[in-house]
Symmetry: C2
Subunit: 369 residues, 2 copies
Amino acid sequence: MKLYFQKSALMEGINIVMKAVPSKTTMTILECILIDATSGEIRLLSNDTEMAIQTMVPGTIAEPGMTAIDAKLFFEIVRKLPDNEILLESDPTDHILISCEKSRFNIAGRRGDEFVEMPSLEKGYYITLNQFTLKELIRQTIFSISLNDNNKMMTGELFEVRDNRLRVASLDGHRISIRNTILKESYEPKKVIVPGKTLVEISRIIGGEADEEVYIFFGSNHILFEFGRTIVVSRLIEGDYFRIDQMAGGGYETKITVNKKEFMDCIDQSIIFVRETDKKPLVMDIHDSAMKLSLNSMIGSMNGEISVDKTGNDLMIAFNPRFLQDALRVIDDETVDIYMVNAKNPCFIRDEDESYIYLILPVNFNTGR
Amino acid sequence: MKLYFQKSALMEGINIVMKAVPSKTTMTILECILIDATSGEIRLLSNDTEMAIQTMVPGTIAEPGMTAIDAKLFFEIVRKLPDNEILLESDPTDHILISCEKSRFNIAGRRGDEFVEMPSLEKGYYITLNQFTLKELIRQTIFSISLNDNNKMMTGELFEVRDNRLRVASLDGHRISIRNTILKESYEPKKVIVPGKTLVEISRIIGGEADEEVYIFFGSNHILFEFGRTIVVSRLIEGDYFRIDQMAGGGYETKITVNKKEFMDCIDQSIIFVRETDKKPLVMDIHDSAMKLSLNSMIGSMNGEISVDKTGNDLMIAFNPRFLQDALRVIDDETVDIYMVNAKNPCFIRDEDESYIYLILPVNFNTGR
């Protein structure tokens, strides 16, 4: 095999496929990137068995072939080469020579046919979405997946299509994050659970341009994201997702509208006194048009006050301040509405047309009053 | 005690004294910052017993007093306060209230008189130097101190004054870094060993302005750096420093002049194949006006070539590429001169007036030729 690349194009391709190179694996071949130039195009492929990424790299095939090359080493070498034409050659025993200007690198590759191909997926049902929207949907929900493997479903996110709406949701037992977005077309209903790790990597790869599309193909066991010259295929998580509609409905007794920045600043200040070993709640005391905020821990106490627009009853309720912070951080509105029933029931942070709903369970508190 | 500060002024002061707050200590009082407003000024003090930092913070003393406050907590609170006036109050039992706008923080302080005062030093002998020069001298030599405590002297740097010259030097058994600078005045000869850690922290604190001075006072057991409103006092390392004049003299058989960037790029590329467990040398093969560079390891090999201006003999010699990299990185010249005798003797990277001298010992190599 003998290939010519521009450094920048090759670097871009490597950066993309690096995201599915496992850091630890018993199958050492998967620590490689497959370079496949057997079919007229130059294809890079990585696969960590949960997720596979393939991208096409522009370049010249002087001699077709395929080989697998240690991903980290390949990344390091190409990164350190000058911004010029790179020659990549391999012989039948997979000895690889990479050269650029006066630098030459010799390394041992591995047989390309030992590499694990990406799972095949019948390209039937699919939806389209722009890259920016997908990136945002992930960012705005990913923080409330569970990192604990005990309940596999909680480590993934619900992707649910109904008519012209896509709903993305995650939950970890203490809170639920839901984002709804309008699609350009209507589709048959579909519901899958996508692993959180896949979504994190995808949001790192996609450029986030509002005018570029992502095609999402839903298979029975896999999901495929296609954008630009890149394809990501991931396993799905099996099971019926939690019935979030039942959890996220209902009325309210108290509604407050707060300035998001003021509220976040107070929460931020209260977190100073929270320790892993001493998780004290932030108490919100809503009375008329003021909300007093306080957090007391072994280390010290914080007290603040912000003005609110209140509808309904006065209320005293307490939350894990980090959960409030996580939700508020991904809301772009200047003011937010918070709906509550009483100190025992969850609060809902949501906008009028429910493009977002963040449900957070309250915690017990003792004010000592 | 009752003090008023502007947030930015207080934050700047805390940032400075934080550098001498120990992360682990058996004397828990040292995890605090002393706030002393007993003598008409507001003084912050930290002390890790090796080094103490004191800085004056502009502010208003409504009620004099002193107290000690947990450094990390104080830093976190002030950092998160709005950019406005801060009130800091303590009562006779060292309960502390910090407030700003509508936020109030209560924490337990400690008795100020429990804190460890900075060592006193008779302000006799001193030199002056601009901040930028001191910062540069440290940056350009600190990398070759030894991190290993076996030989205490190697963990520090030589500060040697002779007439109007200051020499700063460090060595770790494999290399020596020497920087010489001209002072504005002439002084009596003086020689001390300053702990590397002190120098690292000082170079972080000083602003690096070329028009602001640092006063360096040399005591018998301590050294004191004074700049702006800040004083840093550090213990000195005892002992007679190594005789670097004897090591750093002598003639040469081969001299090459190389483009620094080209040389560094090649070294950088070679380091890809160096592992902690497989430290192979970079072989330099100097022949006429070319220098071939190669590094062979278990992982692979790198070959490069750069053109040189050579005086004297052809030579093949090998070095730890990281040592070359460390020295070249802190030399600002576009080309560097390297002086060598043979493959067994150190090379010297130095400029004509010896404002810098970097000595590096070669390593054995086997080219297999």
